[in-house]
């Protein structure tokens, strides 16, 4: 069996800071002590695999997958697509991508969400798919609305879609959010601002992708995702005594 090598250590400065007083909930929920760093082991290098058997034909179509009365979800129809790669630009094929989002009015189908905007009876707000052999994925959905949330006095989340990605190793596990090109709320959002590296935040902003838009049907946005890579060298197995 080929040893794919250990996971490349996470560059923590390319991620959000765990503790950020502007995002108040992070204050009591961020570890104070440094993380314990160690080379990955099979426990982190292996991970769950999900087959096509678990994916239904409408799972990546949020316009139709909760169509209670048969009509499509209300809102601006969009295709969200992209490629999952690793840090060495290798495609990550056959891996599970899950998304969740608010409806067009900015309301989630969740008991805790009591925002004034109405629920759409035909919108559930979740979808999932497996990447193809080139690591590509697609979702058809509606553009989520911005919504207010309790944090500072007058706080609004920019339009966003939550993404959960597995990769092939448990240590690659990633949850992130996709924002939309041109949204003025991104620069006012304390959750986006937990990422201190501007280019890393910019990479969460999906550009409008007109070539992939379908005339008279949907607009398109492109969102590529990069997961941790695994180092492959001829020197992974140490000789006895070294």
């Amino acid at each position: 069996m080929t040893d794919l090598g250990p996971l490349v250590p996470r560059q923590r400065d390319m991620h959000p800071v765990p503790y950020d007083p502007e995002y108040k909930t992070s204050v009591p929920r961020s570890p104070k002590w440094p993380l314990l760093s160690m080379e990955s082991t099979p426990s982190e290098e292996t991970g769950p695999r999900f087959g096509h058997g678990v994916i239904g034909p409408l799972d990546n179509n949020l316009v139709l997958n909760f169509a209670t009365d048969g009509s499509p979800a209300i809102g601006e129809r969009i295709l969200v697509h992209g490629q999952v790669l690793d840090e060495f630009a290798r495609p990550v094929p056959h891996t599970l991508v899950e998304i969740w989002q608010a409806n067009a009015g900015g309301r989630y189908r969740h008991i805790k969400d009591t925002y004034l905007a109405p629920l759409d009876p035909n919108f559930g707000g979740c979808g999932r798919t497996l990447t193809d052999d080139q690591g590509r994925y697609q979702f058809l959905t509606i553009r989520p609305g911005a919504y207010p949330w309790p944090n500072r006095g007058n706080e609004w989340r920019p339009m966003h879609i939550h993404f959960s990605v597995f990769g092939h190793s448990f240590g690659q596990r990633l949850i992130t959010q996709m924002y939309f090109e041109g949204d003025p709320l991104i620069d006012r959002c304390p959750i986006a601002a937990t990422i201190k590296n501007r280019s890393q935040l910019d990479r969460l902003v999906a550009p409008l992708d007109m070539p992939m838009a379908r005339p008279l049907d949907f607009l398109a946005y492109k969102f590529d995702i990069v997961l941790r890579g695994r180092r492959q060298t001829m020197f992974e197995n140490r000789l006895e005594g070294l």
């Binding site: 996971l7 929920r29 426990s43 769950p48 695999r49 630009a89 969740h110 959010q177 986006a192």
Partner: protein, 199 residues
């Protein structure tokens, strides 16, 4: 100028937010009919080899309050230390489970089989453990940790050996509370803060 490195940088994490359940365990969030069932309901199927165990606990914040909105994923090998997909692995062990803190009590529970030991890259054996990953509102980068077991020999485990402050080792060890039952609380911050991993 040296040659440029063509490597990419990992996409930045963001918090799962308060509605992470909608995406990961929609039935738990009351959204039925999109998928036949939530993914990762159990890491084992009937007939899984090895002693069955139940681990309960809470995810506790820096004020001592148990999170009601935490989502946890676990990953483990079978009772012989083989992960799903590896040659000879127990077909009744998927090894993956998703579970959530109860919305009223904050208590979580994982029923599985005791995992077998797995070697580290050095070839040194690691003590039996279950890998955990925790996502919630206010957690900006998902947290990795491990559950070890009080009734196993943890003395030679290479990860536990790396913990300089020996008084923190116990934060990774589940306490036995009965036959096949364990308690494992996760403290995000403050007194008794759990050791989280950069691995």
């Amino acid at each position: 100028m040296p040659q440029p490195l063509a490597n990419l940088t990992e996409t930045a994490s963001q918090t799962g937010g308060p509605y992470v359940h909608i995406g990961c365990i929609p039935s738990f969030a009351g959204i039925n009919g999109v998928y036949p069932q939530d993914l990762g309901l159990s890491p084992i199927q009937p007939g899984a080899l090895g002693p069955q165990i139940t681990i309960t606990g809470q995810v506790i914040d820096g004020t001592g309050w148990a999170l009601r909105d935490a989502l946890i994923e676990s990953w483990q090998p079978d009772s012989a230390g083989r992960f799903a997909g590896q040659p000879g692995a127990d077909p009744a062990v998927s090894g993956f489970c998703r579970f959530a803190a109860d919305k009223d009590s904050g208590e979580f529970s994982l029923t599985t089989i005791k995992p077998g030991p797995v070697p580290a890259r050095s070839g040194q054996m690691q003590a039996p453990h279950i890998s955990l990953w925790i996502a919630a509102r206010g957690i900006n980068v998902g947290l990795h940790t491990r559950i070890y077991f009080e009734d196993e020999d943890n003395s030679a485990d290479p990860l536990l050996a790396r913990i300089e402050q020996r008084n923190r080792v116990s934060t990774l060890i589940a306490r036995k509370t009965g036959e096949g039952s364990y308690r494992f609380d996760i403290r995000l911050q403050g007194e008794g803060e759990t050791v989280f991993l950069d691995i």
